[in-house]
Amino acid sequence: MLNPLLVARCKQHRVVLAIAFLIIFPLLMPFKAIAVNILIYGLFALGFNMLFGTLGLLSFGHAALFGGGAYACGLVMLKLGLPWYVGILGSVLAGMLIAATIGAFAIRTRGIYFAMVTLALAQCLYFLADQATDLTGGENGLRGVDLKTIQLPGMTLNFVDPLTRYYVVAFFVAVALFVLSRILASPFGAVLEAVRENEARARACGYHVRMVRYLAFILSGGFCGLAGALQALHLSIVPLETLAISNSGLVVMMSLLGGMGTFFGPFVGAGIFLLLENLVSLWTVHWQIFVGAAFVACVLFFPRGIWGTILMGRGR
């Protein structure tokens, strides 16, 4: 059997391993833009998973956090004329702010009610963006989020180049992974686990369970907002659909597919979903049947998701 020390080391350095994988990942994909998409949706699912996987709160309004971040980044760049990194910062803050607002209403509810309240509030944001045509472009979306070059001390990166664009996005995803890993390893992470495992006992130990949930929601908003900003920069547009209900459903599906509550599951889920969608729709317009069947099979036979099942199969 394997050396337990080695296993512990791997777990300890999962961020390093993840970064190594991020570096070779674009070479394994059919084209770079899909690798970028997988990272962005993986990050989105990661933020969602923080709430769903770690605390068991099923939100149906996460598109508001993702889309809110995307619009924030676009608007900071387009309307305020500020550089792209301010846009990214703005998107993280916007994601957290929207999460704080939605959370203030939703966090007192549980189960299906939580899902419904988050869904309703996310729809409010969708229609707000639809109506505020002068600001957001309404139905036509926000266009012209053009980032062509990135100035670094001593060098200029061409963001339109596929591989450069991938590595810039991968850099932010790696930072997010590192931050999440630190959060989960911190005392706060231990409290999150305590609340998930036994809420009554956590409360008895003196933890403010609702506040823990609220904070987790806000942090989740930060990750989703960042994912939104990366998408805005990648596509150079912010479609109104990023705020749509279908986007909220998509992230639930990706999380379930990959394995909720696992660290890398969201990325696996996003990767498999997007690859299936991309490859199947190249040869048939009925791609949804195949993706849907794969999803149903996955839920029936791998209730822990693909990554969760792999972890289980390895006796963990």
């Binding site: 791997c10 994909m29 059919p30 036509n140 012209g144 109104l240 792999i310 972890l311």
Partner: protein, 407 residues
């Protein structure tokens, strides 16, 4: 154990990835020296029928070009992608077409939002995009760029042509009923622009949410206003349902119903009763073949390839869009972007519906608009409209380049 897991996964993904990598490279090897036209259209979703016809028509332009020997032996190839009527998906597909497939030109799309998304992506990468869907913004700044071309009509042009005809013929008292989204707003703005000059009186400007199924609260109100004309500005299923309910309600007895665009495919799907007597505009109707020789040639070619059916309006735009790009490449002697743009600017052509021109300042196709009336029952199932008037190509009917922000 963690290590074994990592190893197993990377082996698997490596195998899968090498299989994935192999596929496109085989395809690439076969088509190394062709002119590639990326064609993102919504094959799935509510406009699937129209999109499939766009592909069928675009394919005709490709095979005509290839049969004529291509460009110094260089053949053309159409790369069709499903944009799912979603701007984000369309943007991703366009990036894929340009970066992975090495598309020389992009053509396609069937919604305002999608074409603006595709345009932004193509513009960022300096690739020529010829849009074949309705939009006013695409030809105007800030969306427009040197690489942006627009073979499709604009709401201003369509609504203007229909308005000029209807307001002059059926009366000046008008009620608007519009679907509450960008398409509705732009079209109504177009109708009002031409209506103001003709002195129409707007009795009411009503809106219904997109995808409404019940118009029974609005119809009595419209009838009590006794308008000469009801301008019904909605699309697809909304148009079918609202027309059907207006017909059942008896509104047609007192009021002429006018729509900015009558779709051949929608009329085929909904049947003659709901559409009977409704007047609207179109970019193309196959029936013009009796007077336009190029339309006859195009229809015959389409019939031969598609079991005797005839091309639809939006489909024909796919033909014109792709053919314009190929014509540009032929005249430029290659696919160099700057040379093709120079060749296309001011190009005069007659591909399928009479003389057209690409306006040099904004790359908008100056084109004829046909005013059609839906028939009761035609001689055959394809025979659904009468062309009652033709607005010949005239740049004065478009928004001027100055108003679009061009210098």
């Amino acid at each position: 154990m963690e290590m074994t897991k990592k190893a197993a996964v990377s082996r698997r993904s490596l195998l899968a990835a090498s299989a994935l990598l192999a596929m496109p490279s085989i395809v690439r090897a076969q088509t190394a020296d062709t002119i590639k036209i990326g064609f993102p259209v919504p094959l799935t979703g509510p406009y699937g029928t129209e999109a499939k016809d766009q592909v069928a028509c675009a394919q005709i332009a490709i095979s005509e070009f290839n049969e004529a020997g291509g460009l110094n032996g260089k053949k053309a190839e159409l790369l069709v992608r499903d944009d799912k009527l979603d701007p984000g998906e369309a943007a991703t597909r366009t990036i894929e077409l340009i970066e992975k497939d090495g598309a020389n030109f992009i053509c396609g799309s069937l919604s305002a939002a999608v074409q603006l998304a595709v345009n932004n992506v193509a513009k960022q990468r300096g690739v020529i995009y010829n849009s074949i869907s309705q939009s006013d913004q695409i030809a105007a700044l800030p969306d427009w760029s040197k690489t942006t071309f627009h073979e499709g009509m604009t709401p201003h042009l369509t609504a203007g042509a229909v308005g000029r005809y209807a307001f002059g013929k059926f009366g000046k008292k008008v009620v608007f009923l519009q679907a509450d989204y960008a398409y509705g707003h732009e079209m109504v703005a177009g109708f009002k622009a031409v209506g103001e000059k003709m002195g129409i009186e707007v009795l009411a400007d009503l809106r219904h949410p997109l995808g409404a199924t019940d118009y029974s609260t609005l119809l009595p109100r419209i009838q009590s206003l006794k308008p000469d004309i009801l301008v019904l500005v909605n699309f697809g299923r909304d148009q079918q349902i609202s027309l059907k309910q207006a017909t059942d309600f008896g509104l047609k007895k007192t009021t002429k119903i006018v729509a900015p665009v009558l779709l051949y495919t929608a009329r085929q799907a909904a049947g003659e009763k709901a559409f009977e007597g409704v007047i609207g505009g179109t970019s193309y109707y196959w029936g013009i073949e009796s007077t336009v020789p190029t339309a006859k040639a195009f229809n015959d070619r389409y019939r031969k390839a598609n079991e005797g059916r005839v091309p639809s309006d939006y489909g024909a735009l796919g033909y014109a869009g792709v053919r314009a790009l190929l014509e540009g490449a032929r005249r430029a002697g290659g696919t160099d972007t700057a040379k093709v743009i120079a060749a296309l600017e001011g190009l005069k052509y007659d591909f399928y519906k009479g003389p057209q021109e690409i306006r040099a300042c904004d790359h908008q196709a100056v084109q004829p608009v046909f005013i059609i009336e839906s028939k009761a029952a035609g001689a055959n199932p394809n025979d659904v409209f009468n062309v009652i008037s033709t607005d010949a190509a005239n740049a004065d009917n478009l928004v001027s380049c100055k108003d679009e922000g061009h210098v």
